[in-house]
Symmetry: C2
């Protein structure tokens, strides 16, 4: 079927995101190194994040609460209140950070918006995602924005229904196989996987191939118009 | 114009919400009373919440981060880490709390769903609101759910456009004049104000009347079908 609608993941597909988390993790390590051996910190924080997902979901506020909880647990409650409060400041700095578009994004999005309906489909915190979009300068190119609580096959299916989307006319572009590619392909849509340099561990642990190998992989978003020209 | 669509606010319109916050504030006071005079606590917490709104938005995670920040500030950093961590536990307890429908809600929603398209329009945390809806047992009665980052006239107007809503065929039901009634009436839609016993201070401080007095006020949602019968 003819392609009519192209949807983009946002974080690490349109703009840098993971780098901001890694940078904050470094500040977090520096803050905690007087209390604990920093070796275990990454994996301990990751454990807390995963166990808090069902409560707090994705996004900066959730990450912040998990950093505070992990710091308290690993220091057996010996961390000072002021150091814990510093972690809240980290989150405000993250929320204040400028939105850095990835190379080629602006041109590609502007070009494709002339021929296709463009969507953003992201997960995470509603307020934070809307604010990043407003700051990105890309808002005018997109017809709609969906912030989902998670990116499972069921949630995509419900979203397709709400927006009256025919999967065979739909293409999803993103940097996470787990979240952007596999569930969409399973619903009969097409997908373009553009790996990013940094990807959160939670998005990693799936097999690298779909059942039917039915997605495209690009090194850079700059090649997207060319691919679409070929497959539309 | 004929009424076709009825939208409901969720927190304190369909189910109890503010009581959960008040209850948590009580636990928070009990936790902090060994450090500070509890007199100022309410207003100090409120100040933090308002100044954090632009960063964190509405919802339990935001409230939790504000409780932690306020506790640190008021105790000059002397609060123990374990007490700060207890505040994170408060938030998990809030997120785990059962959803208590307000009296009459189930019957009224079920009845109106037979003749009208029903929507939920709420603000706050996406994940938390979706989860409460799932737990409420009301999900099947609603055609769509919108979680907004705020309930301003501009945001309602954008939402009307996305959903192709004609304001003259639309009625909004809610417990906050500021968020549910005035912006919607300003856009030419009708609104029913049902004050709740408890309302967050932030929702309070607007004049009690619209410019044109153009909304209805009910004591209980149970009278809604009767009112709609009259004004449709």
């Amino acid at each position: 079927m003819t392609l009519t609608r192209i949807a983009f993941d946002a974080d690490d597909t349109l703009w840098e995101n993971e780098a901001l988390y890694r940078n904050t993790e470094q500040r977090y390590k520096n803050l905690l190194e007087k209390y604990v051996s920093i070796g275990d910190l990454d994996s301990e924080l990751f454990k807390t994040e995963i166990s808090n997902l069902e409560y707090f979901g994705y996004g900066i506020k959730s990450f912040t609460l998990s950093m505070i909880e992990t710091a308290g647990r690993l220091t057996d409650g010996c961390i000072s209140a002021n150091d814990l409060l510093e972690i809240i400041q980290f989150s405000k700095d993250m929320l204040d950070a400028p939105v850095e578009l990835l190379p080629g994004v602006k041109e590609v999005v502007a070009q494709l918006s002339q021929d296709y309906e463009l969507m953003i489909i992201t997960k995470g915190d509603l307020l934070d995602q809307k604010r990043k979009l407003a700051r990105s300068g890309l808002e005018t190119y997109f017809n709609s924005v969906e912030v989902l609580i998670d990116k499972t096959k069921e949630i995509y299916a419900a979203m397709f229904e709400t927006h009256d989307i025919d999967p065979t006319q739909f293409l999803m572009v993103g940097n996470s196989l787990r979240s952007d590619i596999l569930p969409v392909v399973a619903l009969g849509a097409r997908a373009v996987y553009i790996p990013s340099v940094l990807t959160w561990a939670h998005e990693h642990d799936v097999a690298h191939l779909t059942d039917n190998g039915d997605y495209y992989e690009l090194e850079s978003i700059s090649h997207l118009p060319e691919l679409i020209q070929r497959i539309r």
